[in-house]
Amino acid sequence: MSSLLLQLTLNGLVAGSIYSLVASGFSLIYSTNRFMHFAHGVIVILAGYILFSFYSLIGFSFYYSVLSTLIYSSFIGFLINKTIYSPLQKKKTSSVILLIASISLLILFQNLIQLFFGAGVKDIDYIDIQKGLEFYEATITQLQIITIIISSILCVGLFIFMKKTSLGKEMRAVSNNKELADIVGINSSKVKDLSFFIGSFLAGLAGILISLEQNVSPSMGTNLIIKGFTGAVIGGISSVPASIFGSYIIGLVENLGIAFLPSGFKEAISFFLLFIFLLFRPEGLASLRRRVK
């Protein structure tokens, strides 16, 4: 039983790492912009396909492809904000309209990708699939270890960035009270652009890791953004560290949960958790800490 639990915990950590990359970008953008950017999933899919085109179709070197994928994804996120969201926000559009716009973007891009690349599953043939490393009867692949490490480094990095650097402080100021931030001379539109840039960079990274670990298909983003969103809500959507924490919880709970329940319940477990939180703690786990204070 213990080896099973160890394996399931590892599975949960890998899933949680990927969810947290999506969730951190999502909640970073939410906290500065105050609307749900579901088109964040688009960046994940696009990153997979950009990497696929550069590495598998054109044949650039792997590291060059990864680097340009990251740059392109960050810019696409930035451009989505500039061309779609900012004009809408300038008209003081309500956040519901922005939410609908972001969902339509998600659907639009999914279909465009399918138009260009077809519906089939694509495989980025970089890593030879072989048996993972084994310890205490649990297996984990090198890529999965790298995924966990990258995700933890980024999470810590993001935390330090938000707490210590001036840009991070400006971001928190905008997230806390945009009007007050404007009054003290923080350029809130610059901060918003930056949050899209960084958030999309993280989504791009998630897309790369996912496409290496699993495969690339037009429908990969929707599932991830749903899980990322769930993680963010459980942790506390307007706080980046909290949503990272929430994503790990989702990853662990859904994987450990089906050790005892039939595996058909996997998705049900995370959505059940989402429901509970929406009903009783819509502010997420972050609200607990605040209350103690």
Partner: protein, 415 residues
């Protein structure tokens, strides 16, 4: 350092602001009132912006319409009028979404049959259902009420077919599926036909195949939907009645790509064989990769849903054994290659036969759904997927073949 000192200044500034907050808020109130007036003014002059917005909307619509038409092959504005003698046939299947490769294969089979039949008075209307029950219901309502079809080829996934079968039955519209294999469809209605045998047969065939290879401990990984659940039930029942033991049954949601926890449970049960029942290529590829990553030694079997190009392309699935319905006569396989430049895809031969069955009925003068049904009941011909003769439930009996994946191609294996 410079930054931090600036930041420090900023923080103290924020504190000061806090102290004098009341004053500012009072100022702000006036400002807000001014702003409201300004906004009202701007909105009055907003003609230019509105035009830009309308422009954006129009461009977006054009892109959407283009995307829609090219994905579904539908004309949105094309109302072709009702020809006096025209018979309309609907097509329902996933042309987008993760099962789209099956949908497109079936569409190709149907198009080939339409071309070969040389029928001038038949028009096919294509609808995308994404293998989703709800989408299928709106598609069939459109096909029946607006397009006035007499027969429908589809749906592809069993779940979607079962969702719409009562609607077809009620409206006396013939439905003929080339790929829905759930045992439930046998009793779905008098107007529901299929050119692919029920999984009652494939489950039995698969169970015997595994058992005859001397493997006694089987685990089953199946998609949590009509197709997977139906097949799994038959497979388990037959394998256990032969004397084998099903040691693990794990399901997954269609399209999910993280199956590690299901596989962890399977690995713990130490099976000699794993049977994957999936009609989602996304999930199938992920399952095969993760079986290898987790070092599961069991022999891997798969249902016909795994016999696709994506699976063949993965380098992880060597020696995968697949049970499949007929892949078509050699002549058809060759014709498919010639016309589409593609190796034969699953369900294309069955799709060809589905249309041909309808074509034969139409050639015999059938026009309405009930006329076509009567013709189909007594129809018998030798198709590209085998002999087509519908029993009283609209099912065909069929034979299965066993394929093994060797060096990226599926080769017929004799067991």
């Amino acid at each position: 350092m410079v930054y931090t000192s600036i930041m420090y200044k900023k923080t103290t500034k924020t504190l000061n602001i806090h102290i004098s907050l009341n004053k500012i808020m009072a100022d702000k109130k006036e400002k807000v009132e001014e702003n409201v007036e300004e906004v009202e003014k701007v909105e009055g002059e907003g003609g230019g912006n509105a035009l830009v917005m309308i422009g954006i909307v129009i461009v977006a619509l054009i892109i959407l319409v283009y995307a829609y038409t090219s994905i579904t092959g539908n004309a949105i504005f094309g109302f072709d009028g009702f020809g006096s003698n025209e018979v309309r046939i609907g097509f329902m299947g996933p042309l987008t979404g993760d099962a789209a490769s099956y949908g497109h294969a079936i569409k190709r089979g149907v198009e080939m049959a339409l071309k070969d039949s040389k029928l001038q008075n038949v028009k096919i209307i294509y609808e995308d259902t994404r293998c989703d029950g709800e989408e299928a219901v709106s598609a069939i309502n459109k096909l029946i009420n607006i397009d006035k079809v007499s027969a429908i080829i589809g749906d592809v996934c069993s779940g979607a077919t079962l969702a719409v079968a009562p609607i077809a039955e009620q409206n006396k519209v013939v439905m003929i599926s080339a790929s829905s294999t759930s045992p439930e469809i046998t009793n779905a209605g008098e107007y529901i036909f299929r050119t692919i045998p029920s999984d009652t047969h494939q489950g039995k065939f698969g169970a015997e195949l595994v058992y005859d290879l001397g493997l006694r401990n089987l685990s089953i990984l199946y998609g949590n939907e009509e197709y997977g659940v139906g097949f799994e039930g038959v497979l388990k029942e037959n394998f256990e009645s032969l004397g084998g033991l099903v040691v693990a049954e794990e399901s997954f949601e269609r399209g999910s790509t993280d199956l590690r926890t299901q596989l962890t449970k399977i690995r713990k049960a130490r099976p000699e064989a794993i049977y994957i029942i999936s009609n989602s290529p996304d999930s199938s590829v992920a399952a095969l990769k993760q079986i290898k990553q987790m070092g599961i030694k069991a022999k891997v079997f798969g249902s016909e849903g795994l016999k696709g190009p994506e699976i063949a392309a993965t380098k992880v699935a060597e020696n995968l054994t697949i049970t499949s319905v007929s892949a078509g006569t050699p002549a058809f396989v060759e014709q498919y290659m010639r016309e589409h430049g593609l190796a034969i895809q699953p369900f294309a031969p069955q799709a060809y036969d589905s249309f041909n069955a309808l074509a034969k009925a139409i050639q015999n003068g059938a026009r309405t759904g009930s006329e076509i049904k009567l013709q189909l009941d007594n129809l018998k011909f030798s198709g590209v997927s085998g002999d087509i003769e519908f029993d009283s439930n609209g099912d065909v009996s069929g034979s299965y073949q066993v394929y093994r994946l060797v060096n990226g191609t599926f080769v017929l294996a004799d067991y």
